[in-house]
Subunit: 221 residues, 2 copies
């Protein structure tokens, strides 16, 4: 059983490791948690002993499969509470985080399953982040080409098909980045070009070629 503080460390490490993939440094954890590296050293030795991360001195840490499973439980709770706060208690999406930070540590499996049911088994939180199911499985987000998004619908930029620097520089120029919200204003029939807004900015033109190289996740508003 992890303490509240240990849960926060684990969750942070999981996020920094990008879902368990990357190695994470002591300083990165200290930065993220707003604590001192010395405190992190102590804590990661403890988390290693508990089996949720693996740690060798001066080498940073990796999250174990047990750790991933534990982190996903916390993340599931956090995101379900966010849905509750926004959909039922009229919170704005920018007001939910700190409250969900507290609610995510409530210990009651029954509570969280009932809450999930009450909310209608939502798949994403108010920021569009996916909610792991009770088994800790994250439904792969369906990625489609920006060009296939229907007019008036919105998507999140998830990946690109062309990693060439000229293409990436172009994206940079128009203000597109991984995670940006993109709205398809309309579509030209004759050349399949798009008019889009990125993050509520100005209307931009995007060619068919560019549009087919941007992968988005459609937002179900």
């Amino acid at each position: 059983m992890l303490s509240l503080v240990e849960e926060n460390y684990l969750k942070t490490i999981y996020h920094l490791s990008d879902g368990g993939g990357q190695q994470v440094s002591t300083n990165a954890i200290a930065d993220a948690i707003k604590t001192k590296p010395a405190s992190v050293s102590d804590m990661i030795r403890k988390l290693d002993r508990k089996g949720v991360i693996s740690y060798t001195k001066y080498q940073g840490v990796n999250v174990t499969s047990e750790g991933i499973s534990a982190a996903l439980k916390v993340i599931r709770k956090h995101r379900l509470w966010e849905v509750f706060l926004v959909q039922h208690l009229k919170f704005n999406w920018d007001e939910v985080h700190e409250v969900a930070e507290q609610l995510e540590h409530i210990k009651s499996p029954l509570l969280i399953e009932r809450l999930d049911e009450f909310l209608g088994h939502p798949k994403v939180d108010p920021h569009g982040d996916p909610i792991p199911d009770s088994q800790g499985v994250i439904k792969a987000r369906p990625q489609i080409k920006l060009g296939d998004l229907s007019p008036k619908s919105e998507g999140l930029i998830m990946a690109v098909n062309d990693s060439g620097s000229s293409f990436l520089q172009h994206l940079d120029k128009i203000g597109a980045y991984l995670g940006a919200r993109i709205l398809v204003v309309d579509k030209e029939e004759f050349d399949s070009s798009l008019r889009v807004k990125i993050d509520d900015g100005e209307i931009l033109f995007i060619s068919k070629e560019v549009a087919s190289n941007i992968l988005v996740e459609e937002l179900t508003s």
Copy 2:
């Protein structure tokens, strides 16, 4: 600002003091909180320094008006969460306590006001206990004479109109006490006597005179 542990002490002391009225002994607190008297001694010195109780050595403690106000805030949160768990998450009334014990410590004034609104400003929790309003005011529980309770309905014995010892001895004899649950089985038309059950015990006869001197709070099942 009180810590979670301090909040639990204060809430317990408030309850033991019967709403701030009685003095509370160190051992009573230790019993209620399942800790040792030595720990209680330490904690009550701290709570005294913080101004929520007043404490003189070997004399037990009293809750200050500041303490009452703080305790009522916690109790309000606890009871609102209980209503939520029962009315919206299908919890049984006997499953809610431990979860509400955790939820009551979530710090967010906005959250609790929105929850209150969402629940429709309930006046009592699933056990019939009153919910303090946002100002900490507890609506006086409506007391009616036992004789005015309609057959088949239940009440809690809240007070008596006759404090004479013979009357109190009679109550003692039939097993009635402050806080007892009393069910009116039926009522005789011709002499207004009642047949009642106290705490699911045997059926007892109660005269009109006795019934008019017992004040109950009707339980809205």
